[in-house]
């Protein structure tokens, strides 16, 4: 049986398939707890990554014709992205575990020969303590890279660092999936 096809970089010109409205997962009329997730992507020099495709996927609320569950947003000239979506609830983990509410985030960019995958959890959620992924990361600074911070009502923020920054900023935890 053939192995899965090899990946290649999305390159710097992927915006030919960019449709800015994809960053709003509520655009088809989904109702629920609407939130904004903003953030930035920076490289090992601490420089803004201005040509990335940031993709958001959430298994909850379940996708349907009003809610795609998936969004894509470019990083802008400051390396910033912004999604509008519905706040996810908990989803089952493996075995009897429950997973705390989270987004899956995939990053594609020039210089990434295959996508990088990470997650964004919600600061202060009591389920974070028992979440299997968060619990598996011993270093609290690294664990914190997976947790979006509240920026006021309905606004969450997560900053993604592809490498340790010049002032020692912690590299985001990326996932082997």
């Amino acid at each position: 049986m053939p192995a899965a096809t090899s990946g290649q970089t999305i390159g710097p010109f992927w915006h030919l398939i960019e449709h800015p409205e994809w960053a709003d997962l509520t655009r088809f009329g989904a109702a629920g707890d609407r939130i904004e997730l903003t953030g930035s992507v920076t490289d090992g020099d601490g420089a803004a990554v201005t040509d990335a495709a940031v993709e958001l996927w959430q298994a909850d609320p379940p996708a349907d014709h009003l809610f795609p569950g998936f969004g894509r947003c470019r990083t802008d000239a400051r390396g910033e992205f912004r999604f509008t979506t519905l706040k996810p609830g908990p989803v089952p983990g493996r075995g009897n575990a429950q997973q705390a509410p989270h987004f899956a985030i995939a990053l594609h960019a020039r210089g990434l020969l295959k996508g990088l995958v990470t997650r964004a959890y919600f600061a202060g959620d009591p389920m974070n303590e028992s979440d299997p992924l968060l619990s598996s990361i011993d270093d609290p600074e690294r664990r914190a890279t997976l947790i979006a911070r509240s920026r006021g009502a309905g606004h969450w923020r997560i900053d993604i660092r592809l490498q340790r920054g010049p002032s020692g900023e912690t590299e985001t935890v990326f996932l082997d999936v």
């Binding site: 053939p2 192995a3 899965a4 096809t5 090899s6 990946g7 290649q8 970089t9 999305i10 710097p12 010109f13 915006h15 030919l16 398939i17 490289d43 090992g44 020099d45 420089a47 990554v49 040509d51 996927w57 959430q58 298994a59 996708a63 014709h65 795609p68 998936f70 989803v91 089952p92 983990g93 493996r94 075995g95 575990a97 997973q99 899956a104 995939a106 594609h108 020039r110 210089g111 990434l112 020969l113 295959k114 996508g115 990088l116 995958v117 997650r119 992924l133 598996s136 990361i137 690294r142 592809l162 490498q163 340790r164 590299e171 985001t172 935890v173 990326f174 996932l175 082997d176 999936v177």
Partner: protein, 236 residues
């Protein structure tokens, strides 16, 4: 603690078939590749489920070779192929996103500064869906090679970018299709970043005269394999 109700994970990638993140010959990886080990994550519903695209909300764009009925310049081509998973099963009704440079090697993109002509009749975006048996097809123009400043006199081989989703988010695939006989392939750090030669060669489409439309366009065949599920739920 595994349970029989757990989602069946995707199979691990075959060694050598995927490029690493850190590729010294590809300059853009230097400050962008993770330096810490990736955290292992046994697949859950988040990884095994994935988006579905509905053509009524994401309409097809099956012909890149014209804008408003005006034909783009260049060599018209037909690209057709079958998308299967690693178990050999067709992947039906899945979205395929496509983008590429024009025949002169210029992207319709504000950041592309290559001194080659843009073509108002070539936008460079396509979107198609596989049929119930995993087949897709689109019409385009053979893209040109272009310089990319990675190293002195660096030129990308002719290529078309593809994006696939498959059955779950962990099967997401973004790749590039190359053309047979292109001498730039053996000079390209992006193509050569894939360690396994057989895997690299599968990114090269094949001229297929059965796909050709006589007196109109050449046909190329490009088959794609997306991740399949592990044989048992316990392998995750």
């Amino acid at each position: 603690m595994e349970s029989a109700r757990d989602p069946i994970p995707f199979r691990p990638y075959e060694p050598g078939t995927q490029p690493p993140y850190d590729v010294p010959a590809y300059g853009s990886t230097h400050k962008r590749h993770p330096q810490e080990a990736l955290a292992r994550l046994p697949h859950t519903v988040t990884e095994v489920a994935g988006p579905r695209f509905n053509p009524s909300q994401f309409p097809p764009i099956p012909d890149l070779s014209a804008v408003n009925g005006k034909a783009a310049l260049g060599e018209r081509i037909i690209v057709r192929g079958r998308i299967t998973d690693e178990g050999g099963h067709p992947v039906p009704h899945t979205i395929v996103e496509i983008w590429q440079a024009n025949a002169a090697g210029r992207y319709q993109h504000p950041a592309d500064q290559h001194d080659a002509p843009s073509d108002p009749n070539f936008r460079g975006e396509g979107r198609v869906y596989t049929d119930e048996d995993g087949w897709y097809r689109f019409i385009s123009i053979k893209p040109g090679a272009y310089p990319w400043r990675n190293h002195h006199n660096a030129w990308r081989p002719n290529h078309i970018h593809f994006s696939f989703f498959g059955s779950g988010f962990a099967a997401r695939l973004i790749t590039q299709m190359y053309f047979p006989g292109d001498p730039l392939l053996e000079l390209d750090p992006i193509f050569l970043a894939i360690p396994d030669k057989a895997a690299r060669d599968r990114l090269v489409c094949k001229l297929d005269m059965t796909l050709t439309e006589p007196e109109w366009a050449l046909g190329y065949r490009f088959d794609v394999v997306l991740r399949g599920h592990a044989a048992t739920p316990m392998e995750g």
